[in-house]
């Protein structure tokens, strides 16, 4: 079968993981759950990048390096995102995003 040696298998795995993350981001009410779904989506993209770097001969090490950069940016995003959620929680006393309606009223 050679699943571990086929680029398509990795890309489909990454695509399904990305779809799961999309569902979580759209459907969950808790802001931290949405952030976790974003992390899942970033991981899916990273898997696709690393798989491309491993199978396309022209890319050599570029895939892995881009994946490392994405990880660093994801860490920065998680830091700022969680800080914002904690700051909002301190004002509104709820982590649920559908109760953040101060600008709708």
């Amino acid at each position: 079968m050679g699943l571990a040696n086929s680029l398509d298998a990795y890309l489909i795995l990454a695509g399904v993981l990305f779809a799961i993350g999309t569902f979580g981001f759209l459907a969950r009410r808790n802001a931290i759950s949405m952030l976790m779904s974003i992390e899942l989506m970033l991981n899916a993209v990273n898997l696709a990048i690393v798989a491309f770097g491993s199978f396309i001969p022209n890319l050599k090490a570029d895939g892995s390096i881009i994946a490392l950069m994405v990880m660093a940016v994801a860490a920065a995003e998680a830091t700022v995102g969680l800080a914002i959620i904690i700051a909002i929680y301190r004002n509104r006393k709820t982590p649920l995003v559908d109760e953040y309606d101060a600008m709708r009223r």
């Binding site: 571990a4 459907a27 969950r28 009410r29 931290i32 759950s33 660093a72 830091t79 982590p95």
Partner: protein, 195 residues
Amino acid sequence: MRGWLYLLGAAIAGAVVTTPALLVFVLGGGSVDDALFVALGTLMLVSALLVVTMRDIIQCGLAMIVAFLALAGIYVVVGAPLVAAAQVIVYIGAISVLILFAIMLTQSKAGPARLVFQTQAAPAAVAAVILAVLITLGVSATDWGETAERARLATDTLALILFQDYVLPFEVVSVLLLAAVIGGVFIAKREEDPG
């Protein structure tokens, strides 16, 4: 009684993860890499589904750690050991701990008891399934010009390229991390005495 239920759940979960891998191992001529890929992929997808569907958000965070760990294993299978190590250090060591602490700081007693999903959960599920099908079809239909074997990347080669061709992005990322740390501390800081 409760302990037996947990044990039963763990046994069912282990069977779900290992059965496809064993099938691939037996039917596919005994390739260990294929079996590992299927086992880790199944583990990752199952725990990712648990992350987006479970009621208790602490359990969601723990399932997310399992998903990250399985993904690190997949990085090893695809031939990028340094990325796998960075995945363990950055995601499991740093981001997961950060998220678990944020959960503890923002958990209210009414949180887990109430509804988990928004009202648009059903359309979101349909959209996610359509997205997965579209990606699968697009990937299958495209010829990427890939090699038949995956290349295993040596870490010293990666280090040479990282510190020769990619020095500028590397430094920019370090500045970005510094800015994110300062910004995170500033935003999350409690305002003791205004003015």
